[in-house]
Amino acid sequence: MNLITGIIAIAIGGIYLVTAMLLPEMRMGDKLGPKLFPSIVGILAIVAGTILALEERNPGKRSKKADFGFVKHKEVWIKILLTTAVGIAYGLLMDPLGFLLPTTLFMLFISTLINKGRLVQNLILAIAFSVITYGVFAVALKLSLPRGFIEQLLPF
């Protein structure tokens, strides 16, 4: 587990450090400039990652094996990736389609994913959630929400 963490820290720290080094040198009265602080942070990640990874060589300090559950809990990862993809799509659809339709569709998708085989219950949850949140945020709290064709039909 610590070996993987160490390698990730070295890789991300390395990319970050190289990017920092490539930044233009522009001080304008600023003694440190825009490069130094990020460079220190990059080095910090690399050093911490290296020590963590090297400690794994010592049997007494060896950490337990990382268990991401890619195989054992494959279905969890499928759900996570599907939710991620649909969550991003939800955000992209909000502007063109308004609040109510994408929210209902997203809630229907996620509740079907989690609460399998209960279509009516999920449909009620999805519609109730989007209507209540619309009522609370757009009507009661008067926050601006994207308006699609459904919202155009509403009096508020």
Binding site: T5, A9, G29, T83, Y90, I114, F129, F137
Partner: protein, 495 residues
Amino acid sequence: MQEIFSNLALGMQTAMTWTNILWVVIGGSLGTIIGMLPGLGPATGVAVLIPITFGMNPATALITMCAVYYGAMFGGSRASIMINVPGDASAIVSCFDGYPMTKQGRAGPALAISAIASFIGGMIGMVFLVFLTQPIASAALKFGPAEMFSLLLFALVATITLSEGNLLKGLIAIAFGLMLATVGIDGMTGIIRFTYGIESLNDGIDFLVIIIGVYAVCEVYKNFKDINAVYKFDSKSIGKVWITKEDWKRSWKPMLRNSPIGFLIGVLPGMGGSIATFMSYALEKNLSKHPEEFGKGAIEGLAAPEASNNACSCGAMVPLLTLGIPGSGTTAVMLGALMMLGVRPGPTLFTDHPEIAWGVIASMIIGNIILIIINLPLAIPLVQILRVPTRIMLPIIMGLALIGTFFLNYSSFDFIIVMIAGIIGYMFSKLEIPLPPLVLALILGGAFEQNLRNSMVLSDGSISIFFQKPISVVFLVLAVGTLVYALLRRKKQTA
């Protein structure tokens, strides 16, 4: 002394409006419910409820968030007592004696002492909070960039050294948080940094989006494994939600003893409610004449950590309000939400907006009273929430998290960040990398770099500036001290 009371009176004036009292009731009830749900802690609770504070004035917004935080602290132990599943890490200890009490048919007294101890701990914590904030805020007004840099350095070091877990992993989390904080246009030179050509990142990454991702979205992901969990309990066996004279006799001293301890732990960055509750439990067990009863339904084993936990949440408000430094995940979320509303907590809050600073403190006193009223007579109806299946709660949490994300900047791009942050949070939990250091570094990173660079401008590039200012030296010594303490502790553990 007189100044403190007149400030408190000013705060009471702000807090005692019908609108604010109503929001304390709503926020406290929602917080109690969210805190009660297994796996959902106060940070997630405040994160998903941020949108309800938009459109409010800053004082009401902060009052509402405090009520949610406080409510979550009251509610956290309900699930521990009834179903042996803690609402969050700070409620783990409540399982030790709370659940055995339920099994013995004493769920009523367990729920009652949990609410009473939370109330007493909260009230004692409030007394300390009232008397400490003004002097700390006044002292902090004199801080220049060097002092602020050293203070932030201490806060970051303390977050990884005082918290539990691997020191190096905490350091890596801090580095990742600082990396995220540097994305976007550099305020001093106008150079665009670390955006890798993505224009949407030019204004930087909104830390609230990351926070919602790593707390709320990630919590939903973590619960995917147990989506069929349904918790059952017998409401009829709860009995009367009150305590006997004997219960009180056994509990009052532990409550009084552990409240100041909890408060002190709350003030320190990185030492959250879980450490406070474990410490209080251990202390009471050591002091008890019947340590063998602990873990088998000893009421003081429930009273002490509950009082300590709520006092701890008051303590956590000290660095947030007076220095603008959040000491825990929840206070970090609150800071982020306030910055969205254009309010920056810190010493100037007490001089520029005393009505907000003291209004919040006063509202916490009122909130404490309202919450005991909610949590004692309504304890039985409230715990029925635990019967709502996880598979219904999770979609609601996810929906609220994404709507909250949308309200932050009305940006579709934020949905990409929040979903990725959710996966990163999940991976962090699998690799046992602590999240609070990342969140704190992300929030404080901008000010940390800014104060470092401003100090260098003032000193013409010499680091001696940090050693010339006495307050700066104190914080540097504290930072080194906590680091040495952590290294010694680590050595002792591995020996």
